[in-house]
């Protein structure tokens, strides 16, 4: 199966997918760590994650998949939402919680 198809299958078979460096338990980049923290702050503790550091093909392919050259990348219901900056902005405005279907943090 080609990389694009693999990515498509992953993002469409899980409601929330984070492509990151490292794992949610052990992020290996500050931006990936921030992305995990934001998801948790939104009340999302169970989400699919892909460690691009152990998947070189995915690491290269994901950049073309979303036309987005950096990691992390967040997908909700199969749609690319953004990277770390966008997640931060959307969290602050409450849009991310809405899209994730969780109540906005007080």
């Amino acid at each position: 199966m080609d990389v694009k198809q693999r990515i498509h299958d992953t993002v469409t078979s899980h409601p929330v997918v984070l492509y990151m460096k490292g794992t949610p338990q052990f992020p290996q980049c500050g931006f990936s760590q921030t992305a995990v923290q934001i998801l948790k702050a939104c009340g999302v503790h169970q989400f699919a994650s892909v460690n691009v550091l152990t998947e070189p093909e995915i690491r290269a392919g994901i950049k073309d998949y979303a036309n987005w050259p950096t990691i992390p990348q967040l997908y909700i219901n199969g749609e690319f939402v953004g990277g770390c900056d966008i997640m931060k902005e959307m969290y602050q405005s409450g849009e991310l919680q809405k899209q994730l279907g969780t109540p906005a943090a007080a």
Binding site: F31, W68, P69, G82, G83, C84, D85
Partner: protein
């Protein structure tokens, strides 16, 4: 070490910016980019517009990461007035 001024040059060479400032420590950089070209584009499309100008530097590893605030001149003015 990459100079923030160099990143400014890469971006300014590809799009008209009303305001462009980049700060960084040589590894991580944060940019405020104000351009009329962002009007009508969502956040993802705005950053894609900028990424297109620096994609080769990111792919080569010359630039590791660039945080971006992408604003239209109107949004920038609002922020100046209320921020």
């Amino acid at each position: 070490m990459l100079d923030p001024k160099q990143i400014e040059k890469w971006i300014a060479a590809g799009m008209a910016c009303e305001h462009l400032s980049i700060e960084g420590d040589g590894q991580h950089f944060a940019a405020v980019i104000v351009s009329a070209e962002f009007a009508g584009l969502n956040r993802v499309k705005r950053q894609q517009r900028v990424y297109a100008l620096i994609r080769d530097k990111l792919d080569s590893g010359e630039l590791h990461a660039l945080s971006m605030q992408t604003l239209t001149p109107e949004e920038w003015q609002d922020r100046q007035a209320h921020g």
